[in-house]
């Protein structure tokens, strides 16, 4: 962990995304003014008109790379950043817009735009780490406020942040939820999804839909086997793995395996 000066500079940059993960920083209502006394907000366009040139001590990057211009911009941002943290499913796996990776982007463009020739976009949506080295990744669609604050304070105090890579199941048990897969037969990705959300979906009586992406050591086949036994169709499982973290390797393999079995 690099040593930081007395007034570390924080920057927040956005690529293809919904703005929800950077909004998480503004959603830290109780901590925001304490945080801004500890760091200087150097570049955060959604929140400030003031822009201070790099280099930056801590850079948060939201969104995925989907344009030629952004491929270059991410390099420039990396070169100006001492510690770079990617935030959210788009930045860490390509996000929902990575559904284009499984389709023909030109056709997508024709569906939405009458004159697709004006639209410049890449055929794939890719995570930031496919383009530059990343120091830390925060999962989630959106990220967890708690994990964001933990990460910022860890970087400021030069310690390793506590970011578990075990499954939602562990959090679910800790929360005292009744298992929705066992008790309700719900299609739940909790066993293969990384913890961090606090097992919200099962607490609301629905199955986890995998918005934190695959956990550290996911064992997907036994889960899909059981879900099929409970009546989930191949199409349903294909879709549930192919949503907010569709291009994360373990989820991609799972959806492709359902796709092959379907045809």
């Amino acid at each position: 962990m690099p040593a930081l000066g007395p007034n570390p500079r924080l920057a927040v940059f956005k690529f293809a995304s919904c703005d929800g993960c950077q909004l998480t920083l503004l959603d830290c209502e109780d901590e925001l003014l304490t945080l801004t006394r500890r760091v200087e907000i150097a570049d955060f366009r959604e929140a400030s008109s003031q822009v201070i040139e790099g280099p930056y001590d801590l850079t948060l990057v939201e969104g995925s790379v989907t344009t030629e211009e952004d491929r270059h911009r991410v390099q420039e941002i990396r070169a100006e950043s001492r510690f770079l943290v990617t935030i959210g499913a788009c930045a860490t796996s390509g996000g929902i817009q990575a559904l284009r990776n499984f389709a023909d982007v030109e056709e997508f463009s024709r569906v939405v735009y009458a004159s697709p020739q004006y639209i410049r976009t890449l055929a794939t949506s890719t995570p930031i780490r496919d383009h530059v080295s990343v120091d830390l990744e925060l999962r989630g669609c959106p990220i967890s406020k708690h994990q964001l604050l933990e990460t910022i304070s860890a970087v400021l105090t030069r310690r390793t942040p506590d970011l578990p890579t075990d499954s939602v199941c562990i959090e679910c048990k800790r929360r005292g939820n009744v298992c929705v897969l066992v008790a309700r037969g719900a299609t739940c990705l909790g066993p293969v999804t990384q913890a961090g959300c606090g097992a919200i979906c099962p607490a609301f009586h629905r199955g986890c839909y995998g918005c934190f992406g695959p956990q550290g050591t996911p064992n997907v086949p036994p889960l899909t086997h059981r879900l099929h036994e409970l009546g989930a169709s191949r199409g349903e499982l294909l879709r549930v793995f192919r949503t907010f973290n569709a291009a994360a390797p373990a989820f991609r393999q799972a959806s492709e395996s359902e796709e092959r079995a379907k045809t």
Binding site: K14, A16, S17, C18, D19, G20, C21, Q22, L23, L26, D27, E29, D30, L32, L33, T36, I41, F44, R45, E46, A47, S48, S49, Q50, V51, T66, T67, D70, G95, I96, Q97, L99, R100, A103, V105, E107, F108, S109, V111, V112, Y113, A114, S115, Y118, I119, C141, P142, C197, I200, C201, A203, F204, H205, R206, Y209, C211, E236, R239, T243, F244
Partner: protein, 431 residues
């Protein structure tokens, strides 16, 4: 030749990425282009082939600031196809969730994005150094909105509890009780906010807007109503596309909407207020009178005041729903099996204005076609007109001043660029 280009290369304090290019020739404004360079994400394309039950969760990801709006428009449109109607307490809970989003989104815009313009600060952090009590009040108000969304939706951004027919689980009476005191405090803070922003100095501007909003027989509009306009239009939502159409312009990744006659129009707080003043909740109505808020408000800078009044509406409604709450026996109305398929449209009032969705779904429950018309796409052409008028009025100004003024003119309408891309840099050319 005195050609001049004024450019704002990245409009700050708005949601998403956009720029503005203004070309001035012989002291006359030739072109105003609001350019949305936020990369396209193709939601309408990848919704094809998805199960109709997935649309609320997927479309929420269009915008992290107003996910509930997307969930609501999607759910209502698909419920029309399913032939189900959500009523009673579950309907009230949807209004509560939407009120939470209005409080959070409006408080964010009023305090963190818009107020720094009026008080001369680059952001709320610098504002907080001089006036910590103001920013603290804003953050507390915002937190109350987020608490509503967390209690009812599981989390503030991309809530997980909305489904076709209602909710996965309704909150317990105890969970709802925890919202009472924060909402009572929020209502007092919302009223204080309206009184405070009414004292700001507003540039003297009057625009001739065509307003479009929903109108409901009893309520200030959120989830339901007819599409009405200040020029007398009054249509059921399913005829929205007869009156308004989207067009693509080469300089933007967002489609622009216009009325079928080719005119620009405005959705959002100013439009809702102009067309629904008689539907304000009691304390909001009293406050509008006390503060002598004109009817309609045609000064875009005063949108901050209308937003504050709408936070009062949202707090009053949220409190009413929380106080009257009794846990319903079923959290949702089930869809019929087999699924009938068909075409369904709905519009709801996102914090930034009317949000229209249309879906065509097959009898297999899979989406065949989706069309989403977000508020900022509808406002884009009208915002360009606001900017054009501003530059015409202040064409003698220095570039830096003009750039700043243009950004303010855009920010008045709280554009959400992430939504509209399916927006901002200022590039001012003078000739």
């Amino acid at each position: 030749m005195t050609e001049r280009t004024v450019a704002v290369n990245y409009v700050a304090r708005v949601e998403g990425e956009g720029a503005l290019r203004v070309r001035i020739e012989q002291q006359r404004v030739r072109e105003v282009e609001l350019r949305i360079f936020e990369p396209p994400r193709f939601f309408e394309a990848f919704l094809r082939g998805r199960a109709y039950t997935e649309a609320p969760d997927i479309t929420a990801r269009i915008c992290g600031i107003c996910p509930v709006a997307y969930q609501m428009s999607a759910a209502h449109a698909l419920e029309r196809i399913a032939g189900i109607e959500v009523s009673g307490t579950v309907r009230a809970l949807r209004r509560l969730l939407y009120a939470g989003e209005w409080i959070e989104s409006h408080a964010l815009h009023i305090y963190l994005l818009h107020l720094p313009d009026f008080l001369g600060f680059p952001d709320a952090v610098h504002l907080a150094e001089r006036h910590p009590e103001i920013v603290k009040q804003g953050l507390e108000l915002k937190r109350a909105g987020n608490q509503v969304m967390e209690t009812l939706g599981g989390r503030a951004i991309h809530p997980i509890n909305v489904r076709i027919g209602g909710f996965y689980r309704c909150p317990t009476s105890e969970e709802m009780r925890t919202l009472r005191s924060p909402l009572e405090r929020a209502l007092a803070q919302a009223e204080a906010t309206a009184r405070f922003v009414a004292t700001l100095t507003f540039p003297q501007v009057q625009e001739d807007y065509q307003f479009v909003a929903l109108r409901h027989p009893e309520e200030y509009p959120m989830n339901q109503g007819r599409v009405v306009s200040s020029s007398g239009l009054d249509l059921p939502v399913e005829r929205f596309e007869e009156a308004f159409q989207e067009q693509q312009v080469p300089w933007s990744n967002a489609l622009q909407s216009r009325s079928k006659e080719g005119g620009t129009y405005l959705v959002g707080p100013l439009a809702r207020f102009a067309l629904n003043r008689d539907r304000l909740t009691p304390r909001a109505a009293e406050l509008a009178k006390e503060l002598k808020v004109p009817s309609p408000v045609l000064n875009p800078f005063q949108a901050i005041l209308v937003r504050a009044l709408e936070v009062v509406v949202a707090c009053e409604e949220a409190l009413r729903i929380v106080r009257d709450y009794r846990e319903p026996s079923e959290p949702f109305v089930p869809a019929p099996t087999p699924f009938p398929g068909g075409v369904g449209q709905a519009a709801t009032e996102a914090p930034r204005g009317l949000l229209y969705h249309r879906y065509e779904v097959g009898q297999d429950g899979l989406i065949r076609e989706a069309k989403i018309v977000p508020p900022t796409a509808q406002n884009q052409a009208r915002i360009e007109e606001d900017v054009r008028h501003l530059v015409e009025r202040s064409v003698e100004a220095e570039d830096a001043q003009l750039q700043d003024a243009c950004e303010r003119a855009i920010r008045n309408h709280d554009p959400c660029i992430s939504c509209a891309t399916h927006f901002l840099r200022l590039d001012l050319q003078r000739n």
